[in-house]
């Protein structure tokens, strides 16, 4: 695509500014990535300073509304800057950066009151206020609207109590965008409200979660009567589910080309790690292992082909998009664990044990431990099967036992399933 003269001019100015102000990046070196979470505090402050430099030069929030500190320019301007910036070291604010300029920020811009936006968005763009999501709860996973964190009126304040989980980088962020239940007599989806919670407020405890692999990428937050005000409400009181839907759409990659990052494998290119492992296990000539290698490669390739087909079906548009997209998600949820198991089977001893520090050696094991992320996170396999069955194949919806009922009653009646 060729630039319009306007964009061309903008690009040229950006190029000059970048050359004069940012450090060039070595080819191969990542500009963004998961580095943020690995940085120490000092390093992270430096990244914030870099963000402020961009902001002050007018290169933060290029296509965000100008009344709230953005530049009010087009997507094309933003894309032009991004393309030029690829060769420079741009701010890496890790997970909090991703949520601030992604799901949280984009949702806030659409639902926040003018006062809220005026107060927070310029600071977000300047790198002074980083937002993370406080959405999932230990007791509400697939049933996302089933949260039980509560915000209770106390004079002209709200007191928030509950716990949130699976937050990335909460310890580096400034605010949590937090969903709480404000009306227990309304049905599940209708008594929810979003709040901006300062993460250094009294009553907030942030604890890293040690994961199955031993790493700690996520945090859990405990809120104990955390005080916020009416001006911290994002959107309208008791209408938080509308806001949540925007958030989920952005999070699920609305507009992105390949939201699931499925591998697109060439038919002739078997994963070299797989071939190496098979040979290292001395099983290259073992017909049973060869069958397994072929199964894995066939599934790898088939998932790529499925991606192309789903894209085609989405374009054809005669079936509901969310249902069709579930094929992709379910394929990941089903095949990732299966693949990881088969790899261990090929390796037999290898993959179960390795010498301390041998990263290649532990790869099969780590892949195995991570293999169910897609089966569970972001809508479990079971949720995807419901979606395919109901939305694509036209089967009846699951009978509902919580719709329309006051949420208070839902919580009570769930306990009665074993007594009736």
């Amino acid at each position: 695509m060729t630039d319009t003269p306007e964009i061309e001019e903008y690009r040229e100015r950006a190029r000059q500014w970048l050359a004069a102000n940012l450090e060039p990046r070595d080819p191969g070196q990542s500009a963004h990535g998961r580095g943020g979470t690995q940085q120490d505090d000092e390093g992270f402050q430096a990244q914030r300073a870099l963000q402020k430099k961009l902001y002050e030069a007018g290169y933060a929030g290029i296509n965000w509304p100008s009344e709230y500190g953005g530049q009010g320019l087009s997507d094309a301007h933003a894309r032009a800057f991004a393309e030029e910036a690829v060769r420079y070291r741009t701010p890496d604010l890790g997970h909090p950066g991703g949520t601030t300029y992604g799901p949280c920020g984009q949702t806030i811009v659409r639902h926040g009151s003018p006062e809220f936006l005026a107060r927070h968005v310029p600071r977000m763009l300047a790198g002074d206020e980083l937002f993370v999501q406080l959405f999932s709860e230990p007791s509400a996973g697939s049933d996302m609207a089933g949260i039980t964190t509560r915000a209770v009126r106390d004079g002209d304040k709200w007191l928030i109590t509950g716990s949130k989980i699976w937050t990335s980088g909460a310890h580096q962020a400034d605010y949590g965008m937090c969903l709480a239940r404000t009306d227990w007599d309304a049905p599940k989806h209708r008594g929810l409200t979003w709040f901006a919670v300062p993460l250094n407020a009294k009553g907030v405890t942030i604890r890293p979660i040690r994961e199955i692999t031993g790493d700690a990428e996520f945090c859990e937050e405990f809120l104990d009567e955390v005080e916020v005000g009416d001006d911290d409400v994002i959107g309208e009181v008791n209408k938080g589910w509308t806001v949540a839907q925007t958030l989920l759409l952005v999070e699920r990659g609305a507009g992105r080309d390949d939201p699931l990052h499925l591998p697109t494998v060439q038919a002739a290119d078997v994963d070299p790690f797989l071939l190496d492992l098979t040979r290292a296990a001395g099983r290259a000539q073992d017909p049973v292992a060869r069958q397994t290698v072929a199964r894995i490669h066939t599934a790898d390739w088939a998932r790529g082909q499925l991606g192309q087909r789903v894209t085609g079906l989405l374009k054809a548009g005669d079936k509901p998009a969310t249902g069709v997209a579930s094929y992709w998600k379910l394929a990941a949820g089903v095949y990732n664990p299966e693949r990881a198991r088969l790899v261990l089977e090929i390796g037999q001893g290898l993959g179960l044990v390795w010498k301390d520090g041998d990263e290649e050696g532990q790869r099969a094991a780590l892949d195995y431990l991570n293999s169910r992320v897609w089966s569970i996170a972001g809508g479990s396999n079971e949720m995807q099967r419901n979606a395919i069955s109901e939305q694509v194949l036209g089967m009846p919806r699951e009978p509902s036992f919580d719709r329309g009922k006051p949420f208070r009653e839902v919580v009570n009646s769930a306990r009665q399933w074993f007594t009736t």
Partner: protein, 374 residues
């Protein structure tokens, strides 16, 4: 069905579907099965007029495709033929046309190929032995004689050899794989139609009792047929996978409808979550089967370096998925699946047989490893 079909291909599909529904719908096929009859040769000739055997031949020999992509056109037909469980040597005749057009003798190219394209004659490919080795390297041997060659041995799982006029025989000669085209009626050749799990096609055993042929029966260079056999296996894999996917889709549609209609415990059985999830898993496998069948066809069309890999992967994936789908549907239909009059068993039989014809999933997985240099 491939959502990316061109308008021409959609037209081809509609025309052929109308043709099948008029000439050999399932009800008519059942009559043939019950009577032990085969379809009249006019069926093949009339199908040929729609281009069924022309897509893989050059225009100079009377061939030509609808979309310019002959393989993709043939795949459109194959899927429909599978959907309606059509009999006949569609796959073998097409791959024979491709091989003969490429490396047949002048006589084979100009005399035989046109009769194949017109549907006047059909070819059955005798390549597998009775135990399902489709490499061509077992079953029938040939040795040079003074005037030509002598063929001895037997081939199994030859599709529709009884109604074919020609056999394309892949034999082992002292210097390597060698192919022959000979009339089914050649002295010493015995074609026996076997009883089969599949009721929609005739699978045959072909015996060669010291069959003497002269050099004119040769296809290509003696001892050097490996490349042609590879190309035939590739085409067979692509077309057979497409046929299977067609039959899977029909059976699945039938099952989905049944789950909406059938009531138990006061609700359509499709409202039970366990049934819904079985349907969803099956639907995923079916969509992936469509995807790999289409993917392999495109690789074959563009003759990519992964074309043979893709054909073997498609055949293996679809073969497993087909049997699994048939069993899932079987369970969902319940008691009614046990009746002869319900169409289910025709699909079960065809899909199960499809999985093994032109190489079982296991056979193709091993082949894939060889192609990948493992």
């Amino acid at each position: 069905m491939d959502p990316d079909l061109s308008p021409d291909q959609r037209l081809l599909r509609e025309t052929t579907e109308r043709f099948i529904e008029a000439n050999l719908p399932l009800a008519r096929l059942r009559e043939l099965i019950d009577a032990g009859d085969e379809v009249d040769p006019s069926y093949r000739r009339d199908g040929a007029e729609l281009g069924w055997f022309a897509f893989l031949a050059p225009e100079s020999l009377g061939g030509g495709s609808v979309s310019g992509d002959g393989v993709l056109d043939a795949v459109v037909l194959a899927e429909l033929r599978g959907r309606y469980l059509q009999p006949g040597a569609f796959i073998d005749t097409n791959l024979a046309v491709a091989t003969l057009a490429r490396e047949g003798s002048e006589e084979q190219r100009t005399k035989v190929v046109p009769t194949l394209i017109s549907g006047e004659a059909a070819v059955a490919w005798a390549v597998a032995d009775a135990t399902g080795d489709w490499s061509g390297s077992s079953g029938v041997g040939c040795e040079p004689t003074r005037g030509g060659y002598r063929l001895t041995g037997r081939k199994g799982l030859v599709v529709e050899a009884r109604s074919a006029q020609w056999l394309l025989v892949t034999a082992v000669a002292p210097d390597g794989l060698t192919q022959f085209l000979l009339p089914t009626a050649t002295p010493g050749v015995t074609v026996e139609a076997m009883t089969s799990l599949d009721l929609s096609r005739r699978l045959c055993e072909v015996r060669f009792d010291d069959v003497e042929v002269d050099g004119s029966a040769l296809v290509g260079t003696p001892g050097a047929a490996a490349t042609a056999v590879d190309a035939q296996l590739l085409l067979a894999g692509v077309l057979a996978a497409a046929e299977t996917v067609g039959a899977m889709q029909y059976l699945f549609d039938l099952t989905v409808q049944y789950c909406k209609d059938r009531v138990a415990f006061g609700r359509p059985i499709g409202s039970f979550q366990a049934i819904k999830h079985q349907l969803a898993d099956t639907s995923l496998a079916l969509e992936m089967s469509h995807a790999v069948a289409t993917g392999a066809a495109r690789e074959a069309q563009r003759e990519g370096r992964g074309a043979a890999h893709a054909a073997s992967m498609a055949k293996a994936f679809v073969g497993d998925a087909a049997v699994e789908l048939a069993h899932k549907c079987w369970q969902l239909f319940g008691g009614i699946s046990y009746t002869w009059e319900h169409d289910f068993h025709l699909y079960l039989r065809r899909l199960t047989t499809d999985a093994s014809l032109y190489g079982s999933p296991t056979w193709h997985r091993e082949r894939l490893c060889q192609l990948a240099g493992l």
